[in-house]
């Protein structure tokens, strides 16, 4: 009998999720046991306001042990007005943003967290605003007086690096290029970055609360608009969560359409990202060639789904159309893209000035990647072999033969090569899928949802794993929708990767991670 079973107060199983309720003082020990002894990865940590059910807030920590298709969820109920929970950040650094987020949005404080600053909410909201509490309300007048500066702001102290020759370079939130907003504070010695502190969450849009007001079916539209270039993966993970919660098993045909579209999304993103990295090194011809392939693939998306970002295809219960009728078009475009992509890679790998900039730039060590729970291409390029398609097979991934690609170096070059290999893998998956025919209903109706039913949904976006956790209230409407985009895990790793690089290489490092601000900020 291991420690987990000994400390479990109550346990229940739903599909591949095993929930263990633990006591307050055991929470830390159990989480540490899972990560240290069983090498489990912390997938997501969140709170849920279930006071209407039994007067308790609950903290959920979702772990998955490599090699097993099982999610171990540690549940910590906070009953009787308890508003603090034990912080696990000092032992499991991957939890540090989740815990600050819970403090901001729910007003539950992580006991023993090393960083007490606000994370998600900035000065646009008064102190003591906890938007995800069910009883939180704020009037327009409150917000206006606060915005106009009549009330004292909550201080936010950037970490200060002091010493001879240290220059502080503040950048953003509005950047020079056509990119998303975020604030970066570099502390540089000459040209070399000594320390970087990002401050994000400028685009916080209250997405999780918005899901609660929209309802489960309309929520698909919102999930598609969480992160623009991962629209389809986000909506797939969301639909999967809702379907699992309601007990709907989508048909093989709908799963096939989803698998195909996930790979189409991965393909256009990876090729676009490889092209984009050329913008970081000033190789205009590579950038232009990459942009043309990406554009043609997006035009294919438009022909398939009437949306360049594959929106409107997913629906709760299946998909809205069958793509197999346009199989010829897909194959023709993919063939063309494969040829062009191979020529592009040949050009890039033969260009010494480009490759020299990529090699040994922005190295993310394996140790830091696994400690911070980095996911996706960034993790695999640093030697952490974590791919949700393999670890927790979903849609049709268990019937397909494919490799997950890794590299040991962890530099920008490794991230480019992993992207390249995955793009080729996506092409072969698309070709393999289109050879077969799949049967079944396109969309199944959503039955009535049981009160307080909950489930996880997940998939691998081009950037890494995405997780949704949904719970229904007593009327079958959304009580809580938690989303965790891959960028949320990867942002904290960027400062470690750029340490010791020169400031002009920062855009290149940043592009090699290609993180979404909107997905992180929610």
């Amino acid at each position: 009998m291991d420690l987990l079973q000994k400390k479990t107060v109550a346990t229940w199983v739903y599909l591949n999720e095993r929930y263990h309720e633990v006591a307050w003082h055991d929470f830390h020990e159990v989480c540490v046991f899972l990560t240290m002894r069983q090498h489990a990865i912390l997938r997501v940590l969140f709170a849920c306001d279930e006071r209407e059910r039994d007067g308790a807030f609950r903290i959920y920590a979702v772990f998955s042990v490599p090699g097993r298709d099982l999610f171990t969820v540690i549940v910590l109920p906070l009953r009787g007005g308890e508003t603090s929970f034990p912080s696990i950040t000092r032992s499991i650094p991957a939890a540090h943003w989740y815990e600050r987020e819970i403090e901001d949005l729910f007003g539950l404080s992580p006991q023993g967290h090393p960083d007490g600053r606000r994370l998600v909410v900035h000065d646009a909201f008064p102190a003591g605003s906890h938007p995800l509490r069910k009883d939180w309300k704020i009037s327009e007048d409150d917000l206006r007086t606060w915005t106009e500066g009549a009330v004292q702001k909550v201080p936010y102290d950037f970490m200060k690096v002091e010493g001879e020759g240290i220059v502080e370079i503040p950048v953003g939130p509005v950047h020079a290029g056509i990119i998303e907003p975020g604030h970066f504070r570099f502390s540089a010695i000459g040209e070399t970055i000594f320390f970087l502190e990002p401050r994000l969450f400028f685009t916080h849009k209250g997405t999780e609360k918005q899901f609660e007001t929209l309802g489960f079916v309309k929520g698909v539209k919102l999930a598609e608009r969480v992160s623009g270039t991962s629209s389809f993966s986000h909506s797939t993970a969301y639909c999967m969560a809702v379907e699992r919660m309601a007990g709907v098993a989508v048909s093989e045909r709908a799963s096939a359409v989803r698998t195909l579209t996930l790979e189409l999304e991965r393909l256009y993103n990876h090729i676009g990202d490889i092209g984009n990295m050329c913008a970081g090194t000033g190789l205009a011809v590579g950038y232009a060639k990459g942009a043309v392939i990406k554009e043609r693939l997006m035009q294919l998306n438009e022909r398939l789904t009437d949306s360049r970002y594959l929106r409107g295809l997913n629906a709760v219960g299946g998909v809205t159309r069958d793509l197999w009728t346009q199989a010829d078009d897909i194959l023709r475009t993919i063939d063309w893209a494969t040829k062009e992509y191979k020529a592009l890679m040949q050009l890039l790998l033969g260009c010494i000035s480009h490759i020299e900039r990529l090699q040994n730039t922005g190295i993310l060590s394996r140790e830091i990647a696994s400690k911070l729970g980095v996911t996706g291409v960034a993790a695999r390029a640093s030697g952490v072999n974590d791919d949700i398609r393999k670890a927790h097979p979903h849609v049709l991934y268990d019937t397909l033969i494919f490799e997950s690609h890794t590299s040991e170096k962890g530099d920008v070059m490794a991230r480019m090569m992993v992207r390249g290999e995955e793009a080729e893998c996506s092409i072969s998956i698309i070709n393999a899928l289109l050879e077969k025919r799949y049967d079944g209903e396109l969309t199944l109706p959503l039955p009535a949802v049981a009160p307080y039913a909950s489930a996880l949904g997940y998939t691998e976006t081009p950037r890494g794993s995405v997780f949704y956790w949904v719970m229904a209230d007593k009327e079958g409407k959304p009580l809580r929708v938690k989303l965790r985009s891959p960028s949320y895990c990867n942002w904290p790793a960027v400062p470690f990767a750029v340490h010791g690089n020169i400031v002009p290489d920062f855009p290149l490092c940043n592009k090699s991670f290609n993180l979404s601000y909107s997905g992180t900020d929610m």
Binding site: V121, H122, D123, A124, F125, P131, I138, L143, T147, P173, V174, A176, G177, I178, I179, E180, P181, F201, F202, T203, H204, K205, G206, T207, K209, Q210, T213, L214, K221, L222, R225, V226, S227, G228, T229, S231, A288, A291, V292, K294, E295, R296, M298, Q299, E302, R308, Y309, R311, S516, Y517, S518, D521
Partner: protein, 174 residues
């Protein structure tokens, strides 16, 4: 070689106005050619745009980036995206304007020289779109700064953005 240089000095390069992949109807093409003429006469062949993401999902940004790819190549119409609001004629805003981005957007608008035009790009920037009513957004760019023109779409395609700019200049010249 000298002959080449002299030839290039006098001959004008052939411009392909709508390359393969840039699918437009005849009517749209006429509007784009008209836009090009207006940019040439009113703005001295250079209309400069500053793009600000005020909480969009990043799809609108990628469509703006796509405008500069070799297929749309918006620079040949004299239109380009610039790094500083001080160099810009047009402010192109995307996103429902998150409350935490509203001060930055206002500051960017203030930093622009007169005359300044504002385009709200996408459904979110018009009225908040799917995010309408959320506690953290201001339901559209129009609630933060004065907007001259709206471009609908989620996200608007690159062609739609060019046509939107043509509509903006129509309004401006009227």
């Amino acid at each position: 070689m000298i002959r080449e240089i002299i030839k290039n000095m006098f001959s004008r390069k052939q411009v392909i106005p709508f390359p393969e992949g840039f699918a437009v109807t005849a009517e749209q093409a006429a509007k784009i050619v008209d836009l090009q003429k207006k940019v040439a006469t009113i703005f001295g062949r250079s209309l400069r745009i500053r793009q600000v993401d005020a909480g969009s999902c990043n799809a609108c940004e990628w469509e703006c980036t796509a405008l500069t790819n070799p297929i749309y190549d918006i620079q040949r119409f004299g239109i380009d995206f610039v790094a500083s609001p001080r160099h810009a004629d047009v402010l192109l805003v995307s996103g429902p304007v998150a409350r935490q981005m509203a001060p930055a957007l206002r500051k960017t608008w203030i930093a622009m020289p007169e005359p300044k035009l504002v385009v709200a790009c996408g459904d979110c920037a018009a009225d908040g779109g799917i995010y309408q009513g959320s506690y953290a957004v201001t339901n559209g760019a129009g609630n933060v700064i004065p907007v001259d023109c709206y471009i609908p779409g989620c996200p608007p395609t690159p062609t739609a953005i060019i046509l939107g700019l043509s509509r903006l200049l129509d309004e401006y010249t009227r």
